[in-house]
């Protein structure tokens, strides 16, 4: 059961404590025990969750020698902002960064396009054969990713009908990204919850299916599109194995594939700067779109159940 996302649902932040009642908090054991545990958790989260990233940020602008000899010291010999510049230009992190952006945009578009059109067809247009398609969709949800790896690769190298390999083409990354049953199910369920009256009204006004899709359904889908988009971009940014296999030209590879390969040719300080740059977009994106992330993850747990 998922809450209809359009309404002000009980989001993670909105609901209040329930387990520990107000008078319980007054009891010293609870106050100090439970409360202490919470404080410990907060400190733990800061140290463990934030710590490594703060160290990365610090070391990104620390000279290599200092990082090696005094890893935990704070700028014993001053900061080295040149690390960042060198990473962006000399090590060409800038180019790989834009490659990653390009891959993310393409994957995002394919995913949104496939999910919305399929969701619209399955949920709104409801053909007679929708059951069959939904069943096929759900089976892919339960097939582990490992099964697809090798044949998908062979298919990209030697596509069945076209005599032209798609290795080193971004299409080899963009198109398979769209085959996400999770996205389609998410969007379909969302559309299921849209009020049918609006469709009826639109139809009476003379709207055909395309009009309905473009002018009525899509504008109403912003929340779910937000969730799908955020996860699509993040998944693309994090993708490693697939781009490693199908993009063999270093110039076209995204950050996640290049970074391990340039480690042996890059001094530690510059390398850490590169790592830092690579994590900037996801971190900033997360801080801005927190709501979508957290709602989507919560939804994810609900959907799969």
């Amino acid at each position: 059961m998922i809450a209809f996302p359009g309404r002000r649902s009980r989001s993670v932040e909105a609901s209040g404590p329930a387990l520990v009642g107000p008078d319980e908090w007054r009891r010293p054991l609870v106050k100090w025990g439970f409360g202490g545990a919470q404080l410990l958790l907060l400190v733990g989260l800061i140290v463990i969750g934030l710590g490594p990233l703060v160290w990365l940020a610090k070391s990104a602008i620390t000279p290599t020698n200092d990082t090696i000899t005094y890893p935990m010291a704070l700028f014993p010999h001053g900061a080295a902002w040149s690390n960042l510049r060198e990473a962006w230009t000399n090590v060409q992190v800038g180019r790989y960064f834009w490659n990653t952006v390009e891959l993310a945009i393409g994957s995002w578009f394919v995913q949104v396009f496939v999910a919305t059109t399929a969701g619209f067809a399955l949920s709104v247009l409801r053909p007679k054969y929708a059951r069959v398609i939904t069943a096929l969709l759900l089976t892919t949800l339960f097939v582990p990713a490992v099964v697809l790896l090798v044949p998908l690769y062979v298919e990209i190298v030697h596509p069945p009908l076209i005599h032209h390999s798609f290795i080193d083409s971004y299409w080899a990354v963009w198109l398979p990204a769209g085959a996400s049953a999770f996205n389609v199910v998410l969007v379909t369920r969302f559309f299921d919850n849209l009020p049918r009256e609006i469709f009826e009204a639109a139809r009476i006004d003379g709207a055909g299916p395309f009009r309905l899709f473009w002018s009525v359904v899509l504008p109403m889908s912003r929340p779910i599109l937000g969730v799908v988009s955020v996860f699509a971009v993040l998944a693309s940014w994090k993708d490693f194995l697939w781009p490693l296999l199908v993009l063999t030209n270093p110039d076209e590879q995204p950050l996640s594939v290049r970074l391990p390969q340039i480690q042996a040719q890059t001094s530690l300080g510059v390398f850490l700067a590169a790592l830092f740059i690579a994590s900037l977009v996801p971190i900033i994106g997360f801080l801005i779109f927190q709501r979508s992330f957290l709602r989507g993850t919560g939804l994810g747990g609900a959907i799969k159940g």
Partner: protein, 326 residues
């Protein structure tokens, strides 16, 4: 009034019997024209992207996996049928038992470290009266970091010399220095530690969302009955969460059974195959030989793993059915 179950295309097809002034007319014959007019083509066009993408990149590869597992393919000469040879070769590979053992150990350790801790954290977080958002953001932050960045960062932490980051920190409390990735005993746990750091946040958020669905009145009733905090958690929170708990456990097992990135980037399966996992073995079969891979063996092992996970999931669902039955 239209409900969710009314097919919208009923509004457009002519296939329903038309009622005019009380008399029922014969159902219009379904011809291609009526199909197109009835919105059938539109529906198909809308489904086309999904059918193409899934057909080409999901359903077709699944079928191909089965076919390739009984063939010998090397992409240079045409594929030949070899029956169960690939499966036999995989079963005779001396590395297979090691890979299975390591994968099981990884999944097991990940379950121990990464399963109860998020639950405890989520319960604590859900009861926080302030800083709710901060908790969630901090917990989820490691999840958004690209796994490659996380692994490479932790690889620096795991430097086994006394001046490595972790060894330095542990040195402050007179512990270590530890070999981390340089020892067959500590390599796999090191991988699990990083993997937990990078993934536990997602589980925490899922639990948090589920916790908001627990009925307050249950807690209030229990308080009235004089139940202690611990009893409330044990008898209300956990049973109410059982669906999500069972789900995340099986999902985590299925996920960790396919672990690839950590062993590949941290240690390449070493030292001495101490971190060789099934996925890494599949990768080696298919992509490890510079002269061309053995795709038949790779797909055979993939199928074996998938079959195992399927059987395991079914057994799991059966075994937990009694507990999750509402």
């Amino acid at each position: 009034m239209a409900t969710v179950d009314d097919p919208i295309d009923a509004y457009w097809t002519d296939s329903e019997p038309a009622r005019v002034s009380g008399h029922e007319y014969r159902r219009a014959r379904r011809t291609p024209v009526t199909w197109v007019r009835g919105g059938g083509l539109a529906t198909l066009l809308f489904l086309l992207p999904m059918l193409f993408v899934f057909g080409a990149f999901s359903w077709y590869p699944i079928v191909r996996t089965v076919i390739m597992s009984v063939q010998h393919t090397n992409l240079v000469s045409p594929a030949t049928w070899v029956g169960l040879d690939n499966f036999r070769a995989v079963l005779h590979d001396p590395l297979l038992p090691k890979a299975v053992e390591n994968t099981a150990e990884f999944a097991g350790l990940a379950l121990i470290f990464g399963y109860p801790v998020p639950l405890v954290a989520a319960v604590l977080m859900s009861e926080a009266r302030r800083f709710r958002g901060v908790y969630s953001a901090l917990a989820y932050l490691p999840v958004v970091i690209p796994p490659v960045v996380a692994v490479l960062l932790w690889k620096t932490f795991y430097d086994a010399s006394p001046t490595g980051v972790f060894n330095t920190i542990l040195g402050w409390v007179h512990l270590g220095p530890y070999p981390w990735l340089q020892s067959q005993q500590t390599a796999l746990p090191s991988l699990v530690l990083e993997s937990t750091w990078a993934n536990a946040g997602g589980t925490v958020i899922i639990y948090l969302a589920a916790l908001t669905g627990v009925n307050r009145e249950l807690y209030e009733a229990a308080s009235v009955d004089g139940a202690s905090l611990w009893r409330k958690v044990w008898h209300i929170t956990i049973p109410q969460l059982r669906g999500v708990l069972l789900l995340t456990m099986i999902l985590q097992i299925i996920g960790t059974a396919q672990v690839f990135l950590e062993p590949y980037l941290f240690t390449s399966g070493g030292p001495a195959n101490a971190t060789l996992t099934v996925l890494l073995l599949i990768f080696d079969y298919a992509f490890g030989n510079s002269l061309g891979g053995d795709y038949g063996q790779a797909t055979a092992l993939s199928l074996m793993l998938a079959a195992f996970l399927a059987v395991f999931s079914l057994a799991y669902l059966r075994a937990t059915r009694s507990w999750s039955a509402k």
